[in-house]
């Protein structure tokens, strides 16, 4: 289908880019991204991907907006406190771009439902705040061969990597096993500067746009770290894909999803970070 005049104008800054152009914009409009977590990372990613015209965006979050979220979860406003996060997020996304389809999932993803949710999307963005979810997303995406962006933030630091399952190293290739409960400081305990979520969530959105359009090189095989205190980006090369990895090696020992104990960033699912 040809673009309407409104679409040509709305997406003109994309269309003018030689790496995107009309073809790339069409790919975005025919593409789909699942954002898991409508929080710090998910908020900027959802706003930018909606604005970019990604045809179908799924957003998953079981929680309601809390006053303590507003310091960084810029998709929600003060008036949204107490509303389901997915509802609040979908409303803003549709307001930015009525052309897109937004699908909401007000639920926790677990071993029994994640495969069914991710299967309908081209790319998955991990914007969760706890290790059980991050390992579950990694393992599910590897098993479903679903490309995804992993990220984490804490204090003034953030990091991310993109995984093309069975081609590039997965999260578990680097971080083999889930750390024990309370071993690693959480955002609630240690804090996080709000704009850090904006930087890293936006980088995840960029990876989704690049994946859908084929522009440039993806952040695969390496971990990008960002330290706001020194204002430095740094890239670390990751071990080769599957080298002894429990889930993505050619002889995996994890072949079934398991639910790790659901300890959120703040260890209290009633009061999300």
């Amino acid at each position: 289908m040809p673009f309407t005049n409104d679409q040509l104008e709305r997406y003109s800054r994309h269309i003018i880019l030689k790496e995107i152009g009309v073809k790339g914009q069409k790919k975005l409009m025919n593409g789909s991204v699942l954002i898991i977590g409508a929080g710090g990372l998910g908020a900027p990613a959802a706003l930018y991907l909606a604005a970019a015209g990604v045809g179908k965006i799924g957003i998953v979050d079981a929680d309601v907006v809390d006053l303590s979220n507003l310091q960084r979860q810029v998709i929600h406003t003060t008036a949204d406190v107490g509303r389901p996060k997915v509802e609040s997020a979908a409303e803003k996304m549709k307001a930015i771009n009525p052309d897109i389809e937004v699908k909401t999932y007000q639920e926790f993803l677990a071993s029994d439902n994640i495969m069914d949710v991710i299967k309908d999307y081209d790319f998955v963005l991990d914007g969760t705040d706890n290790f059980p979810a991050k390992f579950l997303i990694n393992d599910a995406c590897v098993m479903a061969d679903k490309p995804f962006s992993h990220a984490g933030i804490l204090r003034f630091k953030g990091q991310l990597m993109t995984v093309i399952p069975h081609e590039s190293p997965c999260y578990r290739c680097v971080f083999k096993e889930m750390p024990p409960k309370n071993a690693i400081p959480s955002c609630k305990e240690a804090g996080v500067v709000g704009a850090m979520a904006g930087v890293i969530g936006s980088l995840q959105a960029l990876e989704a746009v690049k994946f859908l359009t084929g522009a440039g090189e993806l952040l695969t095989g390496k971990l990008l770290t960002f330290d706001a205190l020194t204002m430095s980006f740094h890239t670390v090369k990751l071990p080769p894909r599957g080298d002894g990895c429990a889930v993505c090696s050619d002889h995996p020992t994890i072949t079934k999803l398991v639910d790790y104990e659901q300890v959120a960033c703040d260890f209290d699912p009633k009061h999300p970070v």
Binding site: Q159, F175, A183, I184, K237
Partner: protein, 68 residues
């Protein structure tokens, strides 16, 4: 001798081990840090014995769980 840690050049004592470097760099949650030397990841059980050489490039990788 000079090594590079996380992109920064540092002067360290000759033959410093990974374990000693972890301590010296005050790495948070040292039990859970992953370490690569010249783009090869070293097994945790070798941290105490593995001595670094002049010019080595060391990276620390940390678990980072936040996102919401």
């Amino acid at each position: 001798m000079k090594i590079t840690v996380g992109g920064e050049t540092k002067e360290v004592k000759d033959g410093i081990t990974i374990s000693e470097l972890i301590e010296q760099e005050k790495v948070e949650t040292p039990e859970y840090v992953s370490v690569s030397v010249n783009e090869e990841f070293e097994k945790k059980e070798n941290f105490a014995a593995r001595q670094l050489k002049d010019g080595d490039v060391v990276e620390f990788l940390y678990f980072m769980g936040g996102g919401q």
